[in-house]
């Protein structure tokens, strides 16, 4: 009986998670059906607020020059832009690379400051330092590997000034610039496109909820100061400040036309540790904000906590249980080759075959929906919806997606041990960059 209850609970949890996913997909479909015929016109803005662009860079000599050049070439009045380049605790030639671009003849009259920082706090520390010295009405952030497209900042500002009293931050999207490097980067590209073209668009469209993605966003400088800036040392400072903004009742708007190219990990090890940091950071933020579910707080924060819980807790728990059931039955089936008296532990008794047939069909449909979701996200981007993406999507279901289970288990164990052993769990593992 316990086995049957476990199977039913697992399936119900998976179905509930899928219901959340399907709701999100439905929102994204509605969003894109309405926007897929809209032409974009770059017209002069009614006003051009000043923007301080911050580039936090820690040992980024490989990619920083391209990023600085892309920022210098942004399609925004040059006299309205202040650029703060932070070489944060670098022991390579990041500062030299930054200087080499900033001193090019065509950029000599630009308002650029290069700061060789030695303080603590990681990226959040850099952003807080920048907040203290920024002169702009808005603070814009581009990671060292994020190359914005020419109109990226224009679109962010255009959205911000559309409702300046409500939109305290605006975020764009990030595209994978090394998507075609290998199978891993192809899978990451699909994941990024799905996250940004489906999840971000849907939750903005349906609930006016935005998530600061860590790069390619602007935030109102005075507002950022009023909420105390970023939490120093946070593993996912972007998720953390997103919750702070929503808790204040203000909005993080989506400018879906604002795009930047970022570099993704090309090796499994780099990918694993980057995602481990993200998962740990998100667990920390969700645990920290879980109390808000039961206290008077902004409804968007409650919804976000529930959404993150769905992704990182109950869906994970269901998948792990489901895998345990599957592997246990497989092991017993193999053992039965040697001992015919063994009985399979997880079955539904007499009604087993009819339930298993319907569940097999159910699982096949889930896989088809998974691939369709990826392909839908790809179809919202010119030239990305190719047959190759279908095969990659299908292969990623059985390979790349399963890695998330390992990352989640590792992250939960790590967060738990950090709490029990009172150790500092906010240690950054730097993502390796590649020269491509």
């Amino acid at each position: 009986m316990a086995a049957e209850i476990t199977m039913i609970v697992t399936l119900v949890l998976i179905w509930l998670s899928l219901l959340v996913s399907l709701t999100t997909l439905g929102g994204a479909i509605h969003f894109w059906l309405r926007r897929s015929q809209k032409l974009v016109h770059i017209t002069p803005l009614p006003s051009y607020p000043t923007v301080t662009i911050v580039v936090p860079a820690h040992n980024e000599e490989i990619v920083i020059a391209q990023t600085v050049r892309a920022i210098m070439n942004l399609h925004y009045p040059a006299d309205r832009v202040e650029i703060l380049l932070f070489a944060d605790n670098c022991n390579d030639h990041t500062a030299r690379e930054m200087r080499s671009v900033a001193e090019l003849p065509q950029y000599r009259d630009r308002n650029v400051r290069l700061i060789e920082r030695t303080g603590s706090g990681g990226k959040a520390g850099v952003l807080n330092d920048a907040l203290a010295i920024a002169h702009g009405d808005y603070l814009g952030v581009y990671d060292a590997d994020a190359m914005p497209e020419r109109n990226a900042l224009y679109f962010l500002v255009r959205e911000a000034i559309a409702n300046p009293f409500k939109y305290m931050a605006v975020f764009g999207r990030n595209k994978t610039r090394n998507a075609r490097q290998n199978f891993l980067t192809r899978c990451i590209n699909q994941e990024i496109v799905v996250t940004q073209r489906i999840q971000h668009c849907a939750i903005w469209h349906m609930f006016k909820i935005g998530r600061i993605p860590g790069t390619n966003f602007i935030i109102n400088t005075d507002f950022a100061k009023s909420i105390g800036g970023w939490s120093n040392g946070a593993l996912t400072e972007d998720t953390d400040i997103s919750f702070k903004i929503m808790q204040s009742g203000k909005l993080i708007a989506l400018a879906y036309n604002s795009e930047a190219f970022q570099q993704e990990p090309e090796r499994l090890r780099d990918y694993y540790f980057q995602r481990l940091r993200w998962a740990k950071g998100n667990y920390q933020v969700v645990i920290h904000n879980a109390r808000l579910l039961f206290r008077p707080s902004n409804w968007r924060v409650k919804l976000e906590v529930l959404y993150y819980s769905a992704t990182f807790f109950w869906f994970d728990a269901a998948i792990i249980l489901s895998n345990i059931i599957f592997l246990t039955n497989i092991c017993v089936l193999i053992a039965r080759l040697f001992d015919h008296n063994l009985s399979i532990p997880f079955t539904f008794g007499d009604g087993n075959s009819s339930i298993m047939q319907i569940l097999l069909l159910n699982w096949m449909l889930m896989i088809i929906l998974y691939v369709l979701q990826i392909f839908f996200a790809m179809s919202t981007q010119f030239g990305q919806a190719t047959t190759e993406q279908i095969w990659i999507g299908l292969a990623s279901y059985f390979t790349y997606s399963q890695l998330f289970i390992l990352v989640s288990i590792h992250a939960v164990a790590s967060v738990f041990l950090d709490a029990v052993l009172h150790r500092n769990g906010s240690v950054w593992v730097k993502t390796k960059r590649f020269d491509n």
């Binding site: 209850i5 039913i8 809209k38 539904f348 319907i358 159910n362 088809i368 839908f376 179809s379 919806a385």
Partner: protein
């Protein structure tokens, strides 16, 4: 576990499976509509952007 619980679970599974099947068809149709619209709009956008490129550069100077 009683047979009635298993029967209820079987029916729930059938309903959810039918729901997924309908969702697959709906998503598939919407996907193709979006795909064709995005391809057409992007090509049109490119033509417009090329036409405006020179004037646009001057406006930013």
């Amino acid at each position: 576990m009683t047979d009635s619980v298993i029967t209820v679970f079987w029916w729930v599974s059938v309903v959810i499976t039918v729901f997924f099947a309908v969702a697959v068809v709906v998503v598939f149709v919407c996907l193709w509509i979006t795909y064709f619209r995005v391809e057409r709009t992007t090509l049109e956008q490119k033509r417009i952007d090329e036409g405006y490129a020179a004037d646009d550069e001057e406006a930013w100077e």
